[in-house]
């Protein structure tokens, strides 16, 4: 299970990386916005994407749409972990095809729960 973590703050990437490791996912890579993430996703054979929304450069929402529009990537499970809390935004993310939405600040239990739910639904 190879996971890409996208967040513009290295602190948040590190927190998510640690939580994922505790959940048994040790194969993780990091990117700081959509522009860096997209080429990595296209060449890196990732199984799961965890992304923030608000980032300079390419936002997580644009990354979500780009992934869904890409023939090779469109089935990649995506979990959004973000401080964006407007109802309209959550609806928009759902319509764009996000698989899970975790709002910051979050707990380890919530992250675990959402990741497990995503994999349950896929299998």
């Amino acid at each position: 299970m190879k996971i890409l973590i996208v967040d513009d703050f290295s602190t948040m990437r590190r927190i998510i990386k640690n939580l994922l490791r505790d959940l048994g996912f040790t194969n993780t890579d990091e990117a700081d916005d959509g522009n860096t993430a997209l080429p990595m996703l296209k060449s890196g054979k990732y199984d799961f994407l965890v992304t923030d929304w608000n980032m300079p450069g390419m936002s997580g929402f644009d990354l979500l749409k780009a992934v869904r529009a890409d023939e090779g990537l469109k089935t990649l499970p995506i979990l959004m972990v973000t401080a964006e809390a407007k109802r309209d935004q959550i609806v928009a993310a759902a319509q764009a095809g996000v698989n899970g939405y975790v709002v910051k600040p979050f707990t380890a239990a919530v992250l675990k729960d959402k990741i497990e739910k995503i994999f349950e639904r896929i299998q």
Binding site: S10, N18, S59, E84, K86, R87, V110
Partner: protein, 261 residues
Amino acid sequence: MSDDIKGHRGLEPEVTEKLRRQAAELMESVEGGDYARSMTLINELSDVRDQSLYQEVGRLTRTLHEAIRNFQIDPRSQEQKEVLSVMTDASDRLAYVVQMTSQAANRTMDLVEESMPIAHTLRDEAVVLREEWQRLRRREMQPAEFRELYGRIDAFFLSVTKDADIIYNSLSEILLAQDFQDLTGQVIQRVTALVKEVEEQMLSLVVMASHVDQLTGTVHQIDDQDVSAEQGVGPQVKAEEREDVVSGQNDVDDLLSSLGF
């Protein structure tokens, strides 16, 4: 400040008086057919308008200047003095807050990442030893095995002492890493005070501008700017007071399940 705004709501009494006098004079001269005098009076009237505007703008500039000059941190310690003296504006200060918080977060995570495997190893060894200990109690252990267990328990006690010290020291360093809150708190309070002050000055500028609009009869067409949420707007403060914002993960889950997720 609110008194100040109230004080500016109308024109200065002497200005009103002057306008009234000049208007009466203007009426008189127009009715009397003295057009040259009328034109001079019209010019004087607009001068009065301009001057009161300049006065208001001048007053605003002075107060803004004062606000910016007042925006200096009183250095209490030598260390802060050095750090803070190099910073001259609010954005530098906020960048300093970002840097301090990021340093503290990384220092804390370094220590946590060092401590976690130690706790893990201790736990694993304790589990093994406990199993062996049970076997010993059930008298299932050969003398050779017991000698090995004896040594292992001895080593375990040693490592517990050593590792507990390491973890304790990490925890106490994590505690110290939270000292950024004091410095960043002070900086943020200063910046907040400046923003508030600027906000109040802006408000009085708006009030002053509305006087000018009244005098000139200007009506502004103000379009509501629709901020696109696509790029992301960051964390919401006072989320519980707003209808269009979720107040936590439960709200998100409810919303998504109402959409069929």
